[in-house]
Amino acid sequence: MSTLGNMRRAMNAEAKRRQRLYWTVLAAVLAVLPWVFSSSFAVSIMTQIGIASIFALSYNMLLGQGGMLSFGHAVYFGLGGFLAMHFMNYIEGGFPLPVPLLPIIGGLIGLLFGVIFGSFSTRRAGTVFAMISLGIAELIASSSLIFVKFFGGEEGITGDRTMGAPFLNFNYATDIEVYYIAAIWTFIAMFAMYWFSRSPMGRMANAVRENPERAEFIGYSQRKVRLISFCASGFFAGLAGGIFAIAYEIVTEETLGLNQSGSVLLMAYIGGIGYFIGPVIGAILLTLLRTVLSNFTDIWLLYLGLIFLATVLFAPAGLSGLLMMHGPAYKARRMGLLLVPYATMAIPILITTIGITGILELAHFAQNTSVDDRVMMLYGIPSNIDSLLPWAVLVGLAGIGIYGIRRAKAGVLEAWDQANAPIAPGGQDKS
């Protein structure tokens, strides 16, 4: 009895120590990042990633933890942003509030609308919830074009973050200062959301997601549990909206539109809704895709759609799910077994990707070019779209790649089974 207790206590202490380490590392990384990537482009991308991370994590409070699929999460993000922007303008007029605290205003607005819309939409999960969220999203998106005074019509509303009274000698004129505001809020919000997911409340949200009836039988109202998750999620979405208002100094109707709601779903799902870290991975990946990939190609949204569908079809647990799948093999020290099969799989996947993106890029170029301009620089190679050669090469690459993937599949599956085979009792396994 006491040995068991001691063991448990030791394990808890170990887990706590590890937790503390993770959070310290995160804080250190957030603090050091702008010195490593110091160009103003990189700093603004990192600010964007911070905002997107909070937004995606707040979305995952609904989808991942609570099992509520929402198509209108940007409503809370956007309304938080709008109110924060209005308050930024009040600050310019003398309202006594330091600019870095604006996200709290956004969060409170998100919370308020979470209470209002949650009060009737959280009665059920599943399809009803999804439909009501879509209805609310359309309603708010249409209203944003009607109520011009509040939403500013198509131009949106703008503000100036530097006009407030300086707070500790900062006047927020530079990207770095904005980055640190975003980074501090990201850290606080991530910590709070992690704490929420580990709290008894977060656990009950999971229980209601899995089996609402049983949760009711042990005395919890499924509706109340959903409502609390919903409100908390609205708060953090609004908080992210508030940071968005500070960072961009403009909020438009697109901020609360359906595309924004869709993109947060993409982030959470591609990153993986099953793990706390998943939406953060998704936010980082999608922000990088949006900012970096869009510099190289016009059709990046097409690629994004392909990546998204591929995730839903082949990796429904998302990227974090793929990573975590390797936990048992890692603990059993058998990752080495997977190395060679993975490499033989990676090569044909790379070849297929090169082939297919090449075809798409070439086709896109062929459609938008003039009669005189027939040569495209594809992967640094001049390719004439009128000759058969580049097309044949690309189709050939894609074909070889797909053939290679099929060939390599069996090897990967076999290695996977070996790596995850139960360890033989009584000692080290030989395989």
């Binding site: 399809t127 439909m131 009501i132 609310i136 009607i146 097409l302 569908l309 839903v312 079809l313």
Partner: protein, 316 residues
């Protein structure tokens, strides 16, 4: 007033029956497979674009036949090779999949046909006013849309109630396992239903493209409204879908046609506000401005107070 009423009724019916062509497929798919197909309106857009492409080479009428067929084949392929696979991961994954499909199809349409509206027109033979009333004319093409929609409704009703296939479909809606036990190939029925539903959306696209415009966002513009229709009518109820389609169609056309503002009402009871008031947008709001909001308000109210919809007998 009579003029507005008559024309709004006519236009509302045309629009409503168009909505029905989309919502009938959606509601059939939902009642059988339990899948709310977010990409349904994307198949409508595909129908319009295919018909546009065909009409450039061999004219409008072949497009009316072939475009829905191609769309239906694509739909059946999506069910067979993707949706069936995603089904294992549960309902949320299915919803997310169809959402992603809608996103991807819009991008593919933009990739192939570009961002601008395409010049897709109806046939010349229908390019005349059918009748003139109060100085405004009613185009023959709209009458053609009306007749096609009604024909499809009657055809669908006959197939579902009078044929053997229809009986199997009806049985598979409520008792898919039992139908499987009786030796019918339920996955095949599912695939055919999905194909037929998307083909219906395709027909809607073919005949609506010339009137509503053929542009990449045409799916998103109509998609949410179609959802509103099936939810208000009651998921899985064809009759409900018809009533709700007509209701939404007529309500929206009337709302656009009748120009009253909140101010008019306030003036009636003797209240007026200056133009600088903080809530000025509220007073100057007019019914045509409200028109896009009305369906969603109705959706939310229905889902709160009657989650089964008007004619449905199961909760969404």
């Amino acid at each position: 007033m009579l003029e507005i009423t008559l024309f709004s009724l006519l236009n509302g019916t045309v629009y409503g029956l168009l909505l029905f062509m989309l919502s009938s497929g959606l509601t059939l798919i939902f009642s059988m497979m339990g899948i709310l197909n977010f990409a349904h309106a994307s198949f409508y857009a595909l129908g319009a674009y295919f018909a546009f492409q065909i009409s450039r080479y061999i004219g409008f009428w072949p497009g009316l036949i072939f475009a829905p067929l191609i769309v239906g084949l694509i739909g059946a392929g999506v069910e067979r090779y993707a949706l069936r696979h995603v089904h294992k991961f549960g309902h949320v994954a299915e919803l997310v999949f169809t959402f992603g499909l809608a996103f991807l199809l819009e991008e593919i349409i933009q990739f192939i046909w570009g961002n601008d509206q395409r010049p897709y027109h109806g046939p010349d033979i229908l390019d005349f006013p059918l009748f003139v009333m109060f100085g405004a004319n009613f185009p023959a093409y709209k009458f053609f849309m009306l007749s096609i929609s009604i024909l499809i409704f009657i055809g669908l009703l006959l197939v579902l109630t009078k044929t053997r296939v229809g009986l199997i479909i009806q049985a598979a809606i409520t008792h898919p396992h039992m139908v499987g036990m009786l030796g019918h190939n339920v996955p095949l029925v599912f695939m055919l239903t999905f194909g037929t539903g998307t083909a219906l959306a395709g027909i809607a696209g073919v005949i609506a493209g010339p009137v509503m415009g053929t542009y990449p966002a045409m799916a998103t513009d109509l998609g949410s409204i179609v959802f509103v229709v099936v939810v208000i009518g009651g998921l899985g109820s064809l009759g409900g879908a018809l009533v709700a389609s007509l209701l939404i169609g007529i309500v929206q056309t009337f709302a656009v046609a009748i120009n009253v503002s909140v101010n008019d009402f306030l003036n009636l009871i003797g209240v007026s506000f200056g133009p600088d008031h903080f809530l000025v947008d509220l007073w100057t709001m007019t019914l045509p401005m409200m028109a896009p909001l009305i369906p969603y308000l109705m959706l939310i109210l229905i889902l709160i107070f009657r989650p089964t919809g008007l004619f449905g007998n199961r909760e969404t």
